[in-house]
């Protein structure tokens, strides 16, 4: 079984090495301060007890008040997993340091998060739109982008009783 290192444990480890680098920790993940991210990631990759050499998944979440970038890390040699996060509080211009210098595998995943969520990864070698075309207006995965009629569950509301309101902008 893969050993899952809880957010609180990994936060403790990081805090020992880099005091003040952890912003908060919940059982699922530890949140890093953005300006310390690169050194923390290099430590997570190279530490002999952690060896997180494989970036499983990188994605961004719109938490309404702020954006969050989530990194799921795997150590293939030690068979363990953990997750760290970093916050981007500025909704107008969310910026997070890129981790491509630590894991090259972040390259396409950061481009995807930029394309769909509009997070700017500072230091990314080639930050361009991935699935959408250049000049596309807006960031589709943000919660404020095209909310359907009837709030969050329009499909549920419209099915049998079929509400009488005309559909919004999405046909």
């Amino acid at each position: 079984m893969t050993k899952a290192i809880a957010g609180l444990d990994i936060a403790h480890r990081i805090e020992q090495k880099f005091p003040g680098a952890v912003e908060e920790a919940i059982p699922e993940a530890a949140t890093m301060k953005a300006d310390r991210l690169a050194e923390v990631c290099a430590f997570l990759r190279d530490d002999p007890d952690l060896k997180f050499e494989f970036l499983s998944s990188l994605t961004a979440v719109d938490r309404l008040e702020y954006f969050e970038v989530v990194y799921h890390l795997t150590s293939i040699r030690l068979n363990q997993m953990t997750a760290i996060k970093v916050k981007a509080s500025d909704r107008e211009n969310p910026r997070v340091p890129s981790v491509t210098g630590v894991w090259v595998g972040a390259n396409l995943q950061e481009r995807e998060a930029y394309d769909l969520m509009g997070i700017v990864f500072v230091g990314h070698p080639d930050l361009r739109r991935m699935f959408l075309w250049d000049g596309f207006d807006g960031w589709p995965l943000r919660k404020d982008y095209l909310v359907g009629p009837g709030g969050r569950f329009p499909g549920l509301e419209r099915f049998p009783g079929e509400s009488q309101e005309p559909l919004g902008g999405r046909g």
Binding site: M1, T2, E28, A29, E53, F54, L55, S56, S57, T59, V61, D62, V70, H72, I76, N79, M81, A83, W103, V104, G105, A106, N107, L108, Q109, E112, L116, M130, F131, L132, W133, P140, L141, Y145, G148, R152, F153, P154, G155, L156, E157, F159, P160, G161
Partner: protein, 380 residues
């Protein structure tokens, strides 16, 4: 004597048989050598992650068929495992074994396609792929028996599978498993020493183990580079901890090794199926969902909906293409707050430029073939 050449651009795709769908590779050439490779994708982008945020957890299962449409079973399973982690549901034994059986059948079907189409890319035009499609059809017949569909299966459910298999399923599956090793011998005779394949693929697109891990490459591609990492072994799900099998590993990390690893994995799948068809117990195929997670929602349409507790989960499995993960965030409502697919096809493309630069256009085609992308999963 030196020849002065000007770099020029060749578009491979989006409508090209060797790009396996609508995927475009923009190659910059200097003479015959590739000096830059730029991927252009999104032709099949349907924004599933956004759509999923407006549907209930159960309504989202069919989306997972349509990401990796050559391996719908594994797509289903990865998603329901993530939801089960969120809710803390444990499916009954028979459901776990049925999941194992279906996923291994799916792996055989998917690798048949991968290996056959790869032979096509190399220039062994159509004959090998027809052999492979013949056997894939038999697996699809079994799926049709189990759930009525052949491609977009929608078979897994949160807490189990949609229905038990009919009585004729097990004998048919046993017969298929008995015949398959002979077919695999046939493929190996036909392809392993085949000059068309060997000459085109040996020493091409090499990834060292360190490069493969750093690029987040997973699945047969990672194992071809010599890293024995398989989530079925490392973090067993379904009933994989109760069966005995080996991890197929390559040595050189080149295109040829990826092809050999896929052939070897089909043999291992047969081995798993032989055991699973013997060991599968009788019993229910669906867990009783805890009442706390199934609550009436206020709309008249779906009287009961699964409402996982507030939290997040990352469920992952070994799909035929690599680590397929679903990252779900629940805010306690009937629809996910965030639904992210960690798609192996997409992430395995990360080292494509590294592998292609310095080679020729012909190399780029077999390299892309060896990644075994499914554009539905790349673009989502």
């Amino acid at each position: 004597m030196t020849v002065q050449t000007e770099p020029f651009v060749v578009n491979l795709g989006p409508q090209h048989p060797s790009t396996h769908g609508v995927f475009r590779l923009r190659l910059t050439l200097d003479g015959e050598r590739i000096i830059d490779a730029d991927m252009v994708m999104g032709y099949l982008h349907r924004s599933m992650e956004k759509l999923a945020e407006e549907r209930t957890y159960t309504q989202n299962i069919p989306f997972t068929d349509r990401t990796d449409y050559l391996a719908a079973m594994t797509g289903n399973l990865a998603y329901v495992i993530a939801v089960e982690q969120l809710c803390g549901i444990e499916p009954p034994d028979r459901a776990q074994w049925l999941r194992t059986i279906m996923c291994e059948l799916q792996r055989i079907a998917s690798h048949c396609m991968a290996v056959g189409i790869f032979a096509n890319d190399c220039g062994a035009w159509q004959t090998p792929v027809m052999h492979m499609l013949r056997d894939r059809e038999k697996v699809l017949d079994l799926f049709e028996m189990a759930c009525g569909a052949r491609l977009t299966l929608n078979y897994m459910r949160i807490g189990g599978v949609s229905r038990d298999v009919p009585p004729e399923f097990m004998p048919t599956a046993r017969k298929l498993i008995k015949d398959l090793p002979k077919k695999l011998d046939e493929y190996e005779d036909l392809l392993l020493e085949n000059e068309i394949i060997v000459e085109r693929s040996r020493g091409i697109g090499v990834l060292t183990p360190e490069q493969a891990m750093a690029h987040s490459v997973s699945g047969p591609m990672l194992r071809a580079s010599g890293v024995a990492w398989d989530i079925r072994k490392a973090d067993p799900y379904a009933a994989y901890d109760k069966v005995d099998f080996d991890i197929a590993v390559g040595v050189h990390g080149d295109v040829y090794d990826r092809f050999v690893v896929r052939l070897a994995e089909m043999r291992e799948s047969v081995k798993i199926l032989e055991q699973a068809l013997e060991l599968i117990p009788e019993g229910p195929v669906h867990a009783q969902l805890p009442t706390a997670t199934v609550q009436p929602i206020d709309q008249p349409v779906a009287p009961l909906a699964i409402r996982p507790p507030v939290g997040e989960a990352y469920g992952r499995i070994e799909s035929p293409r690599g680590e397929l993960g679903f990252y779900l965030i629940s805010d306690g409502s009937p629809a996910p707050f965030r639904f992210h697919i960690r798609s192996p096809s997409y992430i395995n493309l990360t080292p494509l430029k590294l592998m292609s630069v310095g080679g020729t256009v012909a190399d780029a085609i077999v390299i892309l073939g060896s990644v075994d992308i499914i554009v539905g999963e790349v673009d989502r």
